[in-house]
Amino acid sequence: MKERLKESGKEKFLHILEKNSVPILFTVISLIGIPLSGYSLSYLGQEIVVRIARNSFLIIALLVPIMAGMGLNFGMTLGAMAGQIGLIFMADWGIVGIPGIILAMIISTPISAFLGWLCGKILNMAKGREMVTSYIIGFFINGVYQLIVLYGMGSVIPIKNQALILPRGYGIRNTVNLISIRKVLDNLLALRIGTISIPVATLIIIGLLCLFIVWFRKTKLGQDMRAVGQDMEVSRAAGIRVEHTRIVSVIISTILAGYGMILYLQNIGTLNTYNSHMQIGMFSIAALLVGGATVNRASIGNVFLGVTLFHLMFIVSPTAGKNLIGEAQLGEYFRVFVSYGVITLALILYEMRKRRDVERSGRLLAQQQKSEEV
């Protein structure tokens, strides 16, 4: 007489609802916000397509460390900084168009690799606290970046193009004009459907990256990473070089973040030398979490769902806030609040779920043992 251990259908439904609470919440916010803001669907559609093409590469870069159990890689700002340095040199040497982008990517690669290696090494020294540590590493390396870009360039590092330099004679200006590469990749194969212009070339590159990730998961290195992400000690016992694998995951993530930043900036067309990289980390992570990813599980589907929902909220909030309460500023603050709030919520849910899953599996196991006794 074996009892079938099973949660009731209702419990299962609640479980699914809770697991996907963040995307559901955001869909609700968007559904309320869109009519309030008064934007037309075609305008929103165009904006979303542009943002998917612009941001997805960066967000996909976050998938690798999550696979390896390192949590949310706030250190992707390091890759963003490397990409920016690549672009500064490209702008200095005056290379334009697609070759310019490729050059920037080539320059950023060794810098990203080094920064990623450094980040990985530090994270290995702070096991269990990876997320806070990568967060602080981002700030720390930002200081070093400023040291190099604000003081080193133009003085110790030779910069030919005087237009890039601040009036005082050294240090890069706050904004660097990237008109030489603006939208070159996007316009390479632009397709028009109705009123919406789709940057096909960029989307192809993103598609290739997705294929790469899918393939990578199946390689030995990818499998090793997933094992390390599941349980470090078991992987170590199985002979996997745990520390080395973790460092490699951060290096890959940083290099991809570097390329992603270059793609992002080629769409925007201006480099905000001292600010872009700090914000991009936060927004990319928020977008990934909105798509339903958690600190230890994220898929490509989360990336695209997240970009869409997060950026819908982003576009719609200021105007919706203005129409609702009469203050546009309110919408701006609302947007900031929701971005941080969603990360907070995701982190809290992750910790609570970790605890609850342990409790739940224990309870199911106890039920099973009890039913076996009968």
Partner: protein, 347 residues
């Protein structure tokens, strides 16, 4: 030789480097035309301004909740207290007292909620604390626009509603503590006695608390949770108490800061304010789970010393203002160092 190596290991290389750096700045100062007396005076003033916020880190470190990245929550309680004191037109020392009285219930309620949240997420407190801090600052940005403040010095002139970004405390509680019993030595050295006395008073309260039964229980919870539970201590309650204390100290801390600084900074002002306090206490020798009042004093002095000395000395020396970058590298480097340690604090 052994004694020296032991001292170095217990003191920690980063602290030694930072102390030597600060000493060298003080030594170079007169040679480049920076008056040591002014610098020392400035450092002491900044020490008083920031001391209590650094002290706010101690309860949570003791109870095992890690570094209080969520200090902005306490700062918000303090901001609410300060703005309410001005709204109801209290002036002078009474204003400061009323600000504390108004801030306290907010601090205790916010601290209680925050503590309950941290109890649910044991193990991941630091990251969540950071983002709770950020979210609450962002949320309050919305609130500062909407709350029904009416006082003319605080609201935007044109519409008459919504608070300004910075509000002057002049005429209210500016200088209330700093000017109390202040004395001058010579022309450049001004000692803000009142503020330092207040800091000493609060530090004494905290020290005394940790020698009571409750306080020792808190330390036990942070050192060894299993032992604490076996001794019959209610861990969750103690942790919540530590968070409430920390939040209240944060509120007092920002009020002391404002009375010296002269301005109340709303909106995104408190956003990054946890990081300097965290670096200060880590520079003072604390670790993620052990901190003493000595760490607070030494750390705040060293950190604020570097912040004061670097701009003036470096500016005069190499005619470049690298202070911002050095501040970023030093403070974040210190936090990184602490996060990668597994061992206990020193001294």
């Amino acid at each position: 030789m052994n004694k020296i190596t032991n001292f170095i290991r217990s003191f920690g290389w980063p602290r030694i480097i930072i102390t030597l750096f600060l000493l060298s700045l003080f030594i170079i100062a007169p040679f480049v035309g920076v008056k040591v007396s002014t610098s020392l005076s400035d450092t002491i003033v900044r020490f008083g301004m920031n001391g209590i916020m650094v002290l706010a880190m101690v309860p949570m470190i003791h109870s095992g909740c890690g570094l209080n990245f969520g200090l902005p929550l306490g700062i918000i309680a303090g901001l609410l207290g300060g703005t309410l004191a001005i709204e109801f037109n209290f002036v002078g020392p009474v204003s400061f007292l009323m600000a504390i009285i108004f801030a306290t219930p907010f601090a205790l309620i916010l601290g209680w909620g925050y503590g309950k949240l941290l109890n649910r997420v044991k193990g991941g407190e630091m990251m969540i604390a950071t983002y709770v801090g950020f979210s609450s600052v962002a949320f309050m940005c919305i609130m500062w626009l909407l709350l029904p403040y009416r006082h003319p010095t605080m609201v935007w002139g044109y519409a008459g509603k919504g608070l300004r970004t910075t509000i002057s405390t002049e005429g209210y509680y500016w200088g209330v503590l700093s000017d109390f019993l202040k004395f001058r030595i010579g022309e450049n050295f001004l000692f803000p006695t009142g503020m330092i006395l207040f800091f000493a008073f609060i530090a004494l309260l905290v020290w005394a608390f940790f020698h009571t039964k409750r306080g020792t229980a808190m330390t036990a919870v942070g050192s060894n949770r299993v032992f604490a539970r076996a001794s019959g201590i209610d861990i969750d309650k103690v942790r919540t108490l530590s968070v409430m204390m920390s939040t209240w100290l944060g509120a007092i801390g920002i009020l002391v800061y404002q009375q010296s600084f002269g301005f109340i900074q709303l909106y995104m002002g408190p956003f990054f304010m946890a990081l300097p306090a965290i670096s200060a206490i880590l520079i003072g020798g604390a670790s993620v789970n052990k901190a003493t009042i000595m760490n607070v004093v030494v750390g705040t002095f060293l950190f604020q010393g570097i912040l004061t000395m670097t701009p003036s000395v470096m500016n005069s020396m190499i005619h470049t203002d690298m202070s911002e970058v050095i501040r970023i590298v030093v403070s974040n480097g210190m936090i990184l160092y602490a996060l990668t340690r597994k061992s206990e604090a020193s001294r």
